[in-house]
Subunit: 163 residues, 2 copies
């Protein structure tokens, strides 16, 4: 249960839920890395997130409706996590954070290429990517046809990583 | 001094510096409320920020180059804080956070009106507002003429607050 809000300002309320070091990192990994299992989120973490922190963040994100969890049909013992409409709509925030970080901080080329493409693609690309995420995470039929943004971002990342 | 970064991803690096509960709140108050003095940031805080937290956040923001501090020419005993180019460019992130919060959380009408106007105005309005902030905080001559965005946002806020 959340403590009472300190103010009803949209920026304050958002930061009260997401203004910690890890929540957006977990959402980033689900969104851009399509990591859907606990072990995958843990073992593939660039930031080497600790197991107890990942647990607590996933619990928080579930409680706040940013993530849903179900039994994986293929692996009964494994839970699969999905983004929700609420978290899919965080993409523009993540895109702006990426654009700002790329400009002002000392980022690696490989880990910046997706931020660069999102920045250059702008809101039109974000809409296409959110449409894809709705298909993958919510099972909704895609409204926008054409190449996959996820595949494009992944290919660019792999190309730069290999250099 | 900052601890070593956990990864050089632009989103991670940004959250390592700004992913706490208060840093962006202080920047928000300087940006939208034009609060430039410690006492003002403390006493006018909607979220009733504690004095020791405000001190530590201002110190952090100074160290990281988001804020500059100088003696006020008119009040020798008072320090005046200014935004920097680095923090002025956080506006698109704050605008997207405001837009998302307004849609998904239970915000007050009065405290959401500025977020609503920023969302509707889009990148063109953000550019105008950043141009104004550069004049106010960095002493740079405005490049874009026309009505003041700050005044417009403030007037809308006051109008809704009075209802």
């Amino acid at each position: 249960m959340r403590l009472e809000s300190r103010s009803d300002c949209p920026i304050n309320l958002t930061l009260e839920i997401l203004g910690d070091r890890w929540s957006l990192i977990v959402i980033r990994d689900m969104m851009f890395g399509n990591r859907r299992y606990f072990r995958q989120l843990l073992n593939e973490s660039e930031e080497r997130i600790a197991s107890n922190i990942l647990s607590s963040r996933l619990k928080h994100l579930l409680e706040e409706g940013f993530v849903s969890k179900r039994e994986d049909a293929d692996h009964k013992q494994k839970a699969i996590y999905s983004l929700t409409e609420k978290s899919i709509q965080l993409l523009p925030i993540l895109a702006q954070i990426g654009a700002w970080g790329r400009k002002h901080l000392d980022c690696s080329k490989a880990l910046s290429i997706r931020a660069e493409l999102l920045e250059k693609g702008g809101p039109e690309l974000w809409e296409r990517f959110m449409d894809e995420l709705r298909e993958v995470h919510l099972g909704k039929k895609r409204k926008i046809k054409g190449r996959s943004v996820a595949a494009e971002l992944q290919a660019a990342f792999e190309k730069v990583s290999k250099r």
